[in-house]
C-alpha cells in the first residue's frame, strides 16, 4: 500500500466580496474561506491512486485553526488522515519559509511514496512551494503532471510543456504537482459525508484522524519561518484602478442595428479594429 501525502491549503474565496478591504487587501479573518481550487485536482489524483493501487492518503495543511475545515472536506472525498500545522510563528511566511515548515511536517510523519500538490494556490499564485519542498527533501519532482500510472515502485507521468508534453519515468519517492488539465473533476464521486460526520462526533476517532501540530512538535526552527525566516518581503502594494468601468451598451433595438452601431462606435473611437480583420 502506498503512502500518499497531499498538501492542501485554505484560501480566501475571491468570488465573495466579504473581507475585501477598501485598499484591495484581504482581511482573512472576515473573508469567506474555501479549499484552494487547484488542490482538488491533487486530492482527486490521490483518491484515484488509492482506488486503483491501494494507498493511505494523508492531507496536510498549514494555517490558522479554521484551516481544519479543508481537512474535513478532504475526508469527505476519501482522505484517511489529516494534519494541521498551526503556529503563530508561521504567519506571513513566504514560499521558502512555507516550504521549510512543510518539509519538517514530512520528516515528522516519516516514510512516504508520493507527495501530491495542486499546481499553485489562488491567493499566492506562485507554484513555488511544491518544488521547494522537493528540494528540501532532496527528492525528484514532476510538475504540471496531467496523467500518471504506477508499476511497482516506478511511476510514469505525462508532464505539460509549452506546445506539447513530456513522458517521464521516475522511481518513488516523488513530489508531483497536478496540472488542472488533468482528469476533469468528479472528486465528489467517492464522498461519504455521513460517515465523516459520524467519526467527527467521536472525540477518540477524531483525534486519531486529525493531528494538530506546532513548530515545536515537528522539530522546526521558528527563526526559519514567518517574517523572520522569509528572504522576501512585500515592500508596497497598490490597488489596481477599477478596470474598464464605462461600458458603452447597445440594446433595445434590432440586433442588426445594434451591431452596426457598435462597429461605427469602434471606428469612431479609433480602436484600430480595422487592422486586425482579414481583408
Amino acid at each position: 500500500m502506498f503512502k500518499i501525502i497531499v498538501f492542501i491549503k485554505q484560501v480566501p474565496d475571491t468570488s465573495s466580496k466579504a473581507g475585501v478591504n477598501p485598499d484591495g487587501t484581504i482581511d482573512r479573518a472576515r473573508a469567506k474561506r474555501m479549499l484552494n481550487p487547484f488542490d482538488r485536482y491533487a486530492l482527486q489524483k490521490a483518491i484515484e491512486i488509492k482506488r486503483a493501487y491501494g494507498a493511505e492518503v494523508t492531507c496536510v495543511t498549514m494555517g490558522p485553526p479554521p484551516a481544519v475545515e479543508v481537512l474535513v472536506e478532504a475526508f469527505e472525498h476519501g482522505a484517511d488522515y489529516g494534519v494541521l500545522l498551526t503556529d503563530k510563528r508561521i504567519a506571513a511566511s513566504d514560499t521558502l519559509a512555507t516550504a521549510y515548515a512543510l518539509h519538517k511536517v514530512i520528516h515528522h510523519l516519516g516514510e512516504f511514496d508520493i507527495i501530491l500538490t495542486g499546481l499553485q494556490t489562488t491567493d499566492g499564485d506562485t507554484a513555488q512551494v511544491g518544488p521547494q519542498i522537493a528540494e528540501r527533501l532532496n527528492i525528484a519532482q514532476i510538475t504540471y503532471c496531467e496523467a500518471l500510472s504506477i508499476s511497482g515502485k516506478k511511476l510514469s507521468a505525462r508532464r505539460v510543456v509549452e506546445g506539447g508534453h513530456q513522458e517521464l519515468e521516475v522511481s518513488m519517492p516523488v513530489l508531483i504537482t497536478v496540472a488542472n488539465s488533468a482528469t476533469p473533476l468528479d472528486y465528489k464521486r467517492f464522498a461519504d459525508v455521513a460517515a465523516v460526520k459520524e467519526f467527527l462526533r467521536q472525540p477518540q476517532e477524531r483525534e486519531r484522524r486529525i493531528k494538530t501540530v506546532s513548530l515545536d512538535i515537528i522539530g522546526a526552527d521558528g527563526t526559519r519561518t514567518g517574517l523572520v525566516g522569509s528572504p522576501t518581503v512585500v515592500g508596497k502594494t497598490w490597488k489596481l484602478g477599477e478596470i474598464g468601468g464605462s461600458c458603452t451598451l447597445f440594446q433595445g433595438e434590432s440586433p442588426e442595428r445594434e451591431v452596426e452601431e457598435l462597429i461605427g462606435k469602434l471606428r469612431a473611437d479609433g480602436k484600430g479594429v480595422e487592422e486586425l480583420v482579414n481583408v
Binding site: 475571491t14 499564485d125 518544488p131 506539447g164 513530456q166 523572520v228 508596497k236 502594494t237 447597445f250 480583420v277
Partner: protein
Amino acid sequence: MSNPNNVVVVAEQLQGDLQQITQELLGAARGLAEKLNTGVSCFLIGHNIMPLAEKLIHYGADEVIVVDDPQLKEYTTLTYRRAVIAILEHLKTPPPIVLMGATTIGRDLAPRIAAHLEVGLTADCTELDIGDYEHKGKADPSKTGTFNNILYAIRPSFGESLKARILGPWKNPQMATTRIGVMQALPVDTTRKGTVHKVPVTFQTDDFRVTVVKTVRDVSATVNLTGAKVIVSGGFGLGSADGFAVVRDLASVFKDSVVGASRRAVDSGWIPYAHQVGQTGKTVRPDIYIALGISGAIQHRVGMAHSKVIIAANKDADAPIFKFAHYGIVGDLYHIAPLLKKELAKMAREQGIKAGA
C-alpha cells in the same frame, strides 16, 4: 572574464528551439543592467546548442555562459538544476539578480535553485525595476537597514486586484520569474558583440532519477492564448459544445485570433482546457477580447480584464461582464455573432478599397 555584477538571465530552449520568453527576459535584463551600470550574462544549458549563443547576444546578452552536455539534450529538473548550480559555483560571487521565465520549465526549475541557495524568488512578475528600500521591520533586527539599487519584483496579487512590490535585499541572487508576453524584447541587433564561454558540469547519480521517455511537440494542439492579437471566447451562455462553431466562425474573420473559453464551458466538456481564460486558466491581454455568452464572474475577469478592447454579447443586461467590458450588446449571441462577422468583413473590405484607391 565575466563581470560578477552582471544581471543574469537563464535562457530557455526546448529541443534546440530558443523559447520566446528568453528574448523577453533579455530585454528586461538590459533595462535593469543599464540602471545598475552593468552588463547582462545569459546561461545557456542543453546539448549541441552553441549556435544559439550568438542569437542570445543579438537579443541583448553581453556574455553567454554555456553548459553543453549530452545528458542535457532533454530538459529534466534535476540535470538542469545541476547545470545552473555549476555555473553559479563557477562564478564564485553570486550575481545580484537572476531572471527566469514563468513557464512550465522556469516554474519547475527556479524554485529548486532558490531553495538550494536559500534566497528569495518572486513568481510571475509583470514589471521589474531597480530602487532603494528601507526595512523598518523590528521582528528581526539583523534585517533592519537601508538597501540601495535592489531589485523591485512587481506582480499582481489577490486575483489581480492588487499590485505588490516584492523585495529580497538581504541575500544575492535576488530571483524572479516573469510572465510570458509581458516583458518587452529588444529589436534583434545582429551587429552586437559579446563573449561566449563554456563551463563544465559534473552530474551525480541522483540527478538522473527522472528519465524522459519522449517529448511530444504538438504545435497544432497548442492554443496560443497569450500571443494572439484577438481572442473570441465562449461561455456557458452558448448552451452546448456545438455553440463553439459560432465562436470559431467569428474568430475566423480576424488575422491573428484564437478561441478562448470560460471555466464553466471547459468544465462542461464543451472545449479542451487549453482554451480556458481566467484564474485557473490563462491570463491574457489581447488587443481585442470578444466574450460571447460569458457572465464575467471574477474568476474569468482576472484573466482578461487587461485586454485593450473588450466587447461582450450577453442576453442578460445585468451580467457582471457589462460592468467592465468597453462595449456591450444585450441580446442573443447566436444572432449577434454572425452579424458581427458580416459587418467586420464589410468594414475591412471598405477599408481595403480606400487603401487601394
